[in-house]
């Protein structure tokens, strides 16, 4: 025990100071005082900005550097500092930056990440800040950054992707299913999956993932109410959908690991030829070719199964934080990166699709050149015209975990599909209300 009063006083002062700091730190960061919706942004395109991408280095370093150089040439006095964050932990990085009020001037944010940021007024409303921009982009892509309950859109759609579905012809053949006629609707998928499990004595499974929220959308379930204020996927169609999965699980057509696997894990199972059916994108085909040549030799490509007639749309976009110190330059650069010409160049480098109007009429998206990649590209491009982002922007990481946990309970028979969905919806609505 210290007897020196100075030591004791020093100690107490230290504790008091840190407690004060702690209290002050409560609720660090958060909403921006800057007006996110204050009208068109005007001003000179000049000065420095920071541009953050998501795992584009080193594969697309030259492309991004080329964009930056071209933009800097167009606008004297501009300097763009490019930061690329690794794929893992990107959400945490953006979260930390947002909480600290330190987001870069132009940042790659997928729609579901834009929602909480926009709700806290941390992102610029592009519709207001740059009213002319909207007309250059596909309506469904622009809508992906619209926030229910708020007007406007909070990101420039950058690049798009969509189906198809891949299947393993060798596994189909092994159980006597016709590899040239894959299932085309949910009923056929269930039948084929049950046949596969039964004929292989549960050794070959069709599916590797319990349904995620986008699957409910594809099945035609009304995931949210009209104003986006409540989740509704516990409706009868949702229950019917989960019941189908339960039948598949019981029969061994859905692998046990599906109870704990995520999207990436299920993709790996398909790569390892442990499941026969997996949703994917044109990008995956390149991945199979490089990393799973024996799968690639047997991979079948078919349309995404949906009851809505509309395939799933994946969107990536660029947002400008409301607190950016150089909004005119940030907006101009985000628009430049996502313009038709630059997106087209990007699409030719990798298996993505532009979000700009008119670009999809380029022969590159209508002529397959006789290759598998070409066929996937053309088929996907056709799907994109009507594709929908089935994952609501309000859907969060916690909700994904919750849905998986409840689906797992339903598959194991710990709760009924109806109860599992009721519980999930109730808890998700609680999270949504915040």
């Amino acid at each position: 025990m210290p007897t020196n009063p100075l030591s004791r006083r020093g100690f107490l002062l230290g504790v008091a100071a840190t407690t004060a700091l702690g209290v002050a730190g409560c609720g660090l960061g958060g909403s921006s005082d800057d007006n996110a919706d204050s009208g068109p942004v005007t001003g000179d395109v000049t000065g420095e900005i920071k541009f953050q991408t998501w795992a584009l280095k080193p594969k697309y370093t030259d492309y991004i550097n080329g964009l930056i150089t071209a933009f800097q040439k167009q606008h004297a006095g501009v300097k763009v500092n490019w930061i690329d964050q690794p794929a893992d932990g990107y959400l945490q990085k953006v979260t930390a930056d947002a909480a600290a009020g330190n987001l870069p001037d132009v940042v790659n944010v997928p729609p579901d990440l834009s929602f909480p940021l926009a709700r806290k007024k941390l992102l610029l409303n592009i519709d207001t800040a740059m009213p002319d921009a909207r007309k250059d982009y596909l309506d469904n892509a622009w809508a992906a950054y619209a926030i229910p309950g708020q007007t406007g859109s909070y990101g420039f759609p950058w690049y798009l992707n969509t189906g198809p579905t891949f299947y393993n012809k060798a596994l189909f053949r092994q159980v006597g299913l016709d590899p040239e006629h894959p299932p085309t609707n949910y009923s056929e998928l269930e039948n084929d999956a049950l046949v596969m499990a039964q004929r292989s004595d549960k050794k070959i499974a069709m599916l590797g993932l319990t349904p995620v929220i986008a699957d409910f959308g594809l099945y035609g379930v009304t995931v949210m109410n009209a104003d986006g204020s409540k989740f509704t996927f516990n409706e009868p169609k949702g229950v019917q959908f989960v019941e189908m999965y339960k039948r598949l699980y019981d029969a061994g057509a859905l692998i046990p690991e599906a109870l704990t696997a995520n999207y990436t894990g299920a993709g790996t199972k398909f790569m390892n030829q442990q499941i026969a059916w997996a949703p994917g994108s044109a990008y995956d085909l390149q991945n199979f070719k490089t990393n799973a040549p024996s799968l690639y030799a047997n991979v079948g490509i078919t349309k995404t199964i949906t009851n809505t007639g509309k395939a799933v749309l994946y969107v990536q976009g660029l947002s400008v934080p409301a607190a950016s110190k150089n909004k005119p330059t940030a907006l101009a650069f985000a628009k430049f990166v996502t313009n038709a010409e630059n997106q087209m160049a990007f699409a030719k480098l990798t298996a993505i699709f532009p979000s700009t109007k008119g670009t999809m009429s380029d022969p590159y998206f209508s002529q397959d050149g006789g290759t598998d990649e070409g066929r996937v590209r053309v088929a996907a491009a056709k799907q994109l015209e009507t594709a929908v982002n089935y994952t609501p922007v309000q859907w969060s990481e916690q909700m994904t975990t919750l849905l998986q946990q409840k689906m797992s309970d339903a598959m194991q028979g710990k709760t009924s599909p109806k109860q599992a969905l009721d519980d999930t919806v109730a808890q998700c609505n609680k999270l949504l209300a915040g």
Binding site: V15, T18, L21, G25, T95, T401, Q404, Q405, K406
Partner: protein, 293 residues
């Protein structure tokens, strides 16, 4: 400068850099967490004082009790093997034999291996269609694969196995250092009295190693209570089927991360984890002192 001429604050000046680091990176985050535990703070701003609401919620939250149960079970499953097995290993590799360095290195290798790599390797081994199941099925030992990673209890046991496997070498090194301090004359005296290897182990070595064994028990139980990586890597983000294998740290992570993270509740969980860990340490210390009497 003579010591007598020093001002009262001179020692504080020397302490200042270290104090700044401790306050900035340990004390402040700790106190901030305690403060946040009494608020409804979210990751993106806000937060009002809500009294003990988070703690009341915790008591009513089945996920909390599952997590505490799993963390407690983890201690029971991991600590005894981590106290005994590294000791046996240390006794084996203590001898000066040709090539013994190779074995010492081999046993220590898992300690320095990345936990992510370790998790992936064990996932490949224990998967329903993994190496262990494939080999046992091919040999005809199994008809249906063992659900190591999909059954609630087997998954927890598998994670414990990985923790024990990865920790063996670390505690082995601690025991090796302690074995070097066991008085040789006691061994020699016992040998003269006709004591065999086992007798000397129980009458000389183990009593001399008792403080080290307590230290290993304390260290391993605290880290077992705070387990995250092994369970996360084997059980997935959702914490096993239906979240049944979630541990306390996993729950903190699940609740508090993401842009919609519930910072207040996860801070309250962190405070409880701190109190439980501290309690564990104090209880072990007390037991240790009682035995000394």
């Amino acid at each position: 400068m003579r010591i007598a001429q020093q001002r009262w604050f001179t020692p504080w000046l020397f302490l200042l850099p270290g104090l700044a680091v401790v306050i900035g990176f340990s004390l402040f985050p700790f106190l901030n967490t305690v403060v946040l535990a009494f608020t409804d703070a979210k990751v993106l701003g806000g937060g009002h004082f809500t009294g003990a609401d988070n703690f009341v919620r915790m008591v009513r939250d089945p996920a909390f009790w599952t997590a505490v149960g799993n963390s407690a079970l983890y201690i029971v499953g991991v600590v005894p093997p981590l106290v005994v097995l590294p000791l046996l290993l240390a006794l084996l590799v203590e001898r000066k034999l040709p090539g013994i360095t190779f074995f010492r290195t081999a046993f220590f290798t898992p300690v320095i291996a990345s936990i992510v790599v370790v998790g992936l390797i064990w996932t490949w081994l224990l998967d329903t269609r993994g190496l262990v199941n494939d080999v046992l099925t091919a040999l005809g030992v199994l008809k249906t694969p063992i659900p190591f990673l999909t059954d609630q209890w087997l998954l927890l046991v598998s994670a414990m196995l990985v923790t024990v496997w990865k920790g063996l070498g670390y505690y082995m090194v601690i025991y090796l250092a302690a074995l070097g301090t066991v008085p040789k004359d006691l061994h020699e005296a016992a040998q003269v009295d006709g004591a065999g290897w086992w007798r000397r182990l129980f009458s000389v070595t183990l009593p001399a190693l008792r403080p080290t064994m307590v230290l290993v028990a304390v260290l391993s139980s605290v880290s077992a209570f705070r387990v995250f990586s092994e369970v996360y890597l084997l059980a997935g983000q959702a914490g096993g089927p239906g979240g049944a294998d979630t541990t306390l740290v996993m729950l903190i992570q699940q609740v508090g991360t993401g842009l919609t993270g519930d910072l207040g509740y996860s801070s309250a969980l962190s405070v409880v984890l701190f109190v439980l860990t501290l309690g564990l340490l104090l209880a072990t210390n007390r037991l240790n002192r009682q035995e000394d009497l």
